[in-house]
């Protein structure tokens, strides 16, 4: 432990913090030192240890001092340790906590764990030996050989300096944390590029790859959230997937449609279909594309869009006139109706009954009364 020198813990310009770990105790050889509650910091150039309670008690050792190091597994009542074997001190070493030690190795005891990561990082740094590329000057210690090796500063200047240190450390920590994220983003970008190139290849060589594989690949892309250029461009002519889906819907929706008087809002269809499927749910886009193919596939269903933008699926056999006639009957019976009242009468959803009333108005059979009481429809006697 005589390889350590007092330090102010501040990193030099070319020096970066690699990892830090709390709860590290220093051992001089096999003996526990008094330095038992601290933070061990690994930088590109040094190994630093700082006392948690007394921030001014801070020491460092250049990584060049390390010959080799090894892990010592945890035992019962013993924390995991890293044993670091050291070169002898250079002659111009600055004073530290211990002048002479009979050991040429130290141990870092990780009482709050973290040794695996620390070990990994230490290995990395020792392999890369970045300190050799960017030499930094030795940190200056105070003239006195007292416990605190820091440039003692009192008053405001000292406080300012401490704040500055803390800020620098926080900065380093944050950039450390995001380092992994930016690596991930780089990888993701590569993935997206790859999948996009494959998608274009598929588009060009349609036929070389079987339909099944194409569909499977497209579904992978979709699940990753990448819109497939093939389906988007060719949705008019319909993909196999949507055609199959349309047929499936045709079978499935017959009964529910008849129950509901031949018409269902697209949102209702979406809920019904996905509830029935359980797994392998449909996206709204897929449902819409499949519904658009009803007519071309000669299925007995139709997708219909009202003026207001509401989309419904209706049975082909469903008759417009009958609907209007039934609505008019209800209105004339009651004198006047709101959309909600009609919905209740006919057992429809409010949305659909409103569409029905609006349609009747458009055809001139009904007229409207718009007041603070709401929107009512009367038979048009103008």
């Amino acid at each position: 432990m005589d390889r350590f020198s007092w330090s102010n813990g501040l990193l030099e310009i070319n020096e970066t913090l690699v990892i830090q770990q709390r709860g590290v105790r220093l051992y001089d050889g096999d003996e526990k030192s008094k330095l038992d509650v601290g933070v061990a910091l690994l930088s590109t150039h040094r190994l630093i240890w700082r006392d948690i309670k007394n921030h001014e008690c801070c020491m460092s050792m250049p990584l060049s001092q390390i010959i080799f190091f090894e892990e010592q597994a945890a035992g019962i009542g013993k924390s995991a340790k890293i044993v670091i074997h050291l070169h002898p001190s250079p002659a111009n070493k600055e004073p530290g906590p211990l002048q002479n030690s009979k050991y040429s190795y130290i141990k870092l005891s990780f009482k709050e764990h973290g040794q695996i990561e620390f070990y990994r990082r230490l290995t990395e740094e020792m392999t890369q030996r970045r300190w050799e590329n960017t030499p930094v000057s030795q940190p200056i210690s105070s003239g006195t050989g007292s416990q605190s090796g820091r440039t003692r500063a009192v008053g405001i200047v000292g406080i300012e300096r401490k704040i500055e240190e803390k800020r620098k450390e926080t900065d380093k920590n944050i950039s450390e944390a995001f380092e992994d994220l930016s690596k991930l983003m780089v990888k993701a970008k590569e993935m997206v590029e790859l999948s996009r190139s494959i998608a274009t290849k598929i588009k060009d060589k349609q036929g070389d790859i079987t339909e099944d594989e194409t569909i499977r690949f497209k579904s992978y892309l979709l699940s990753m959230g990448i819109a497939n250029p093939v389906t988007r461009e060719t949705h008019g002519s319909g993909t196999h997937y949507h055609m199959q889906l349309a047929k499936q819907l045709g079978d499935m929706l017959q009964a529910p449609l008849e129950e509901r008087g031949g018409m269902m809002a697209l949102t209702e269809v979406y809920c019904l279909v996905n509830r029935a499927r359980g797994m392998e749910l449909l996206s709204p886009e897929d449902l819409l594309n499949a519904c658009k193919m009803f007519e071309s596939l000669k299925l007995p269903l139709r997708l219909r869009v009202f003026d207001s933008g509401v989309m419904v699926v209706q049975l082909q056999s469903h008759s417009e006139e009958e609907m209007i006639a039934s609505a008019l009957d209800s209105v004339s019976e009651k004198g006047s109706l709101t959309a909600e009242e009609l919905a209740k009468l006919l057992g429809l959803s409010v949305l659909l009954s409103k569409e029905r009333l609006l349609l009747a108005e458009k055809m001139g059979h009904l007229c409207r009364d718009d007041s603070v009481e709401g929107l009512r429809f009367y038979i048009n006697v103008f």
Binding site: C367, R368, D369, S371, R376, Y378, F382
Partner: protein, 174 residues
């Protein structure tokens, strides 16, 4: 004599501007004739748009329906198109209601004039509108500006000539 409201007046949808084009046309036609007959009955010649909102014409308290101000504007525009209304100001807040068009008045007046063999005679405007002779006529009590317009309409027809005298205007019928 009490004013007789048309059946539409008690039909709530009458007070909502109908979106259906055909329905709207019929609705507006009904409104126009209602406004004109109301004005005729009460001998109203001018209307103020703000006041009109509260007048019983556009506000049926019994069925709790009011024609909204935008719709009133539409009705007035319709009347203007038909020639029964004229705006008095640029902001379209006051208007003249001609429940009979000037030409129609002119014709009426000329009929009376010729019936009584008074063609080629001269009258002052006051005589026409307020004279004892005309008391039983519909145009009795006609406001001067309206009378003037009617006579001007006859004038363009060549049936009369309006001229200015010392204390007012006069007219000669041909």
């Amino acid at each position: 004599m009490n004013f007789e409201w048309p059946w539409q007046y008690n039909f709530p949808p009458f007070f909502t501007l109908q979106p259906n084009v055909d329905t709207r046309q019929k609705q507006l036609a009904a409104w126009c004739s209602l406004v004109l007959s109301y004005c005729r009955h009460h001998k109203l010649y001018t209307l103020d748009v703000m006041e009109a909102q509260e007048s019983p014409v556009f506000n049926n308290k019994k069925i709790e329906r009011k024609l909204p101000v935008e719709a009133i504007q539409v009705v007035f525009e319709e009347l203007k198109k038909k020639g029964n209304l004229e705006w008095l100001d640029k902001n379209k807040s006051r208007c003249l209601v001609m429940w009979r068009r000037p030409e129609e008045w002119g014709k009426l007046i000329y009929q009376w004039v010729s019936k009584n063999g008074m063609v080629n005679s001269v009258f002052t405007l006051y005589e026409l509108s307020n004279g004892d002779d005309t008391e039983s006529e519909e145009f009795h009590g006609l406001e001067e500006w309206m009378l003037l317009r009617s006579l001007q309409a006859l004038q363009s027809d060549g049936k009369a000539e309006v001229f200015t005298m010392d204390d007012g205007k006069g007219v000669k019928f041909f």
